[in-house]
């Protein structure tokens, strides 16, 4: 009886088609959604939306959101939320502004310092969540207000009463590191492409698009890195395990608390990166920077296939979720629709995504 169990194939399991395997990928919904949105705009929008300059136009806000969304997605896979990302953008923007303008630090010091500072705030967030055992929803909701308030108070203290800190551009001018965090990358390449007539140019011969905005490059790099970490590193397995079942992961020797605190630090650092890029681009920082970005980031992550309960999701999904977001926000200006339809669309997308994700999860786990 014991040795007869060597059946080579289980006749009760149907063989899977490539399509049904594809159906089980968490990012499928987001990719399908991106294609649908693309089709929608290629019918309704002005043709210039999908030219090079149009694509850059919607990829820029998509990337700024996307960097946050990747962090939010990883944290969500790890089973926690961070509602303070948006306020964190303002807060680390303030810190960065003060470093550069008030203290006059060079970027090579100011940027690492901003990351360390933000990671520290993230660690406080995470430590409170873990030590108190409270839902991260509540703890980070508190931080949403605390950090927003501190940004206002801090800005007023730093500027003597104003809620905007100016002079960042002048302070970083000529700094070699600035080109990594602001402006366009590969300007030479685009000039060369223009001279060959491969891309659109102005009458003077200068290219219409002078380069790829750095945030887009950062967005691609972070998506790649996050995907590598999640799928190919032991830490990735720990993140899935921690979000899937905290106790089970802990019993199996996964350092769940370290994983969670690191993820909170990571999302804070993503917020800091967005802060640095946008503050340098704008040349100033203000207290409303990153307003409501936490919700948009979570929506992008959920559209990208992250489950609200944790343990499932992907960075590539969040990548496409953010692109959907960018296409909708910017795309509506290329159409005849009222721009305010954007919010309706976003809410609808979120609802559809959650329903879709639930169906997918049932397929994955074989629930009936």
């Amino acid at each position: 009886m014991t040795n007869t169990a060597q059946v080579v194939e289980d006749e009760r399991i149907k063989s899977e088609s490539f399509f049904s395997k594809l159906m089980k990928r968490p990012e499928l919904g987001a990719i399908a959604g991106a294609i649908l949105v693309f089709i929608f705009f290629s019918i309704t929008a002005d043709a210039s939306m999908f030219t090079l300059s149009g694509v850059i136009n919607f990829m820029t806000p998509a990337s700024q959101l996307g960097i946050l969304a990747i962090g939010a997605a990883m944290l969500m896979i790890g089973g926690e939320f961070d509602l303070s990302i948006g306020s964190m953008v303002a807060f680390s923007g303030l810190f960065f502004g003060v470093c550069v303008v008030t203290w006059g630090l060079p970027l090579i010091v100011a940027i690492p310092l901003t990351f360390v500072f933000s990671a520290f705030v993230g660690a406080i967030n995470g430590t409170i969540v873990i030590r108190s055992g409270l839902p991260s929803f509540i703890v980070t909701l508190a931080f949403l207000f605390v950090l927003r308030g501190l940004s206002l108070v801090g800005l007023k203290a730093a500027t003597g009463g104003s809620t905007q800190l100016r002079g960042v551009r002048e302070a970083v001018e000529g700094d070699g590191l600035a080109s990594f965090f602001s402006g366009d990358a590969f300007p030479g390449l685009f000039e060369w492409l223009a001279s060959k007539g491969l891309i659109e140019t102005f009458k003077s011969g200068a290219p219409k698009v002078t380069g790829i905005p750095v945030e887009i490059i950062w967005f691609f790099i972070i998506t790649g890195a996050a995907t590598y970490v999640l799928l190919r590193l032991p830490v990735g397995n720990w993140i899935f395990a921690t979000g899937g079942d905290n106790t089970a992961a802990s019993n199996s020797g996964v350092p769940v608390n370290k994983v969670k605190i690191s993820l909170f630090m990571l999302t804070a650092c993503c917020a800091a990166l967005v802060a640095i890029i946008t503050v340098m681009d704008a040349g100033s920082t203000d207290a409303r920077r990153g307003f409501q970005k936490e919700f948009e980031a979570i929506i992008a992550a959920v559209i990208g296939g992250c489950l609200l309960t944790g343990g499932y999701g992907s960075a590539i999904g969040a990548f496409f979720g953010s692109i959907i977001f960018g296409m909708v926000v910017i795309g509506l200006t290329y159409t005849d629709f009222d721009q305010d339809w954007f919010q309706v669309f976003l809410g609808g997308m979120l609802l559809i995504a959650v329903l879709f994700n639930n169906a997918i999860r049932k397929r994955v786990t074989g629930e009936r």
């Binding site: 009886m1 014991t2 169990a5 060597q6 059946v7 080579v8 194939e9 289980d10 399991i13 899977e16 590598y228 799928l231 190919r232 590193l233 032991p234 990735g236 397995n237 720990w238 899935f240 395990a241 899937g244 079942d245 106790t247 089970a248 992961a249 019993n251 199996s252 020797g253 996964v254 489950l307 343990g311 499932y312 999860r361 994955v364 786990t365 074989g366 629930e367």
Partner: protein, 272 residues
């Protein structure tokens, strides 16, 4: 085929115990959960720990697996006194526990569950990464050794049956070098067919020289694979019996503390 011919039983008493627990007491405040429990397990045997609800089984396993520290008493590991301060210590020494919740994550693949927290890596320095290929191969072959053919190593654990999940948990413990495998009520939530699969798995593990501690409150399951039987009642051991020395009725009576059971059994007509 009777139960007795189904499994080859190990020879209890033929070798030195791996783990010996001597007069273990565990108090929680003013509650005495364990009041002098002695227990040992030898390589290649299946030692059943039987007891009714509240007898102290869970507390005892947690003491053995390093979750709790005993208030009094001694734990000898290969004859040397041991002090486990965390479950990780016990795990590293070779005492693996498969708890009732199995420490499995339904949304994750079998491979990812199998190596959760102990991922094999390939490459060096910044290129050090999770060796997915090796992990998949090990998982499939370990599961095949336990008599289960996976559809694929990337199959989510949620799609497995209860018995199969139990087997994944056991295979995982054995792969990571368990010398003693503690199974906390592995059959309690399973159907007949799945129960016999798990019992067959226990038998395979035992043949590899692993000492199995099988906790149950089901006498029939215990008798199907057990070599020795220890009954726990109200925090105390009521003695250990070898296979053949004790009848199911006697075991049942010891578990229930002797009283009323006799009357109840009369009205129910047979062993429960």
């Amino acid at each position: 085929m009777t139960v007795d011919t189904t499994f080859h039983h190990g020879d209890a008493g033929s070798s030195e115990p791996i783990v010996q627990m001597k007069d273990i007491e565990k108090h929680f405040g003013n509650i005495i959960a364990l009041a002098g429990v002695s227990f040992d397990v030898r390589p290649g045997e299946c030692h059943c720990l039987l007891g009714d609800n509240g007898a102290g089984k869970s507390t005892f396993i947690k003491t053995m697996s390093g979750v709790h520290k005993p208030t009094k008493g001694q734990i000898l590991f290969h004859g040397k006194p041991m002090n486990f301060s965390t479950p990780r210590d016990a795990m590293e020494a070779g005492i693996a526990t498969v708890f009732q919740d199995l420490a499995m994550i339904p949304l994750m693949s079998v491979t990812r569950n199998f190596f959760m927290g102990r991922e094999p890596t390939i490459g060096r320095g910044p290129l050090k990464r999770f060796d997915v290929k090796t992990a998949n191969e090990i998982t499939v072959s370990s599961m095949r050794d336990m008599g289960i053919n996976l559809r694929g190593p990337d199959q989510a654990v949620g799609t497995l049956s209860g018995g199969e999940r139990q087997t994944v948990a056991i295979a995982r413990a054995v792969h990571f070098g368990a010398k003693v495998l503690i199974l906390d009520e592995p059959t309690s939530a399973l159907g007949v067919r799945q129960t016999s699969n798990v019992l067959a798995t226990i038998d395979r593990v035992r043949k590899q020289g692993v000492g199995v501690v099988f906790i149950s409150h089901n006498v029939r399951h215990a008798l199907a694979v057990g070599d020795r039987f220890t009954v726990l009642n109200r925090g105390k051991t009521l003695g250990t019996a070898s296979r053949g020395e004790i009848s199911p009725e006697e075991l049942q009576e010891l578990m229930a503390g002797g009283q009323e059971m006799a009357e109840l059994e009369g009205s129910l007509g047979g062993t429960i």
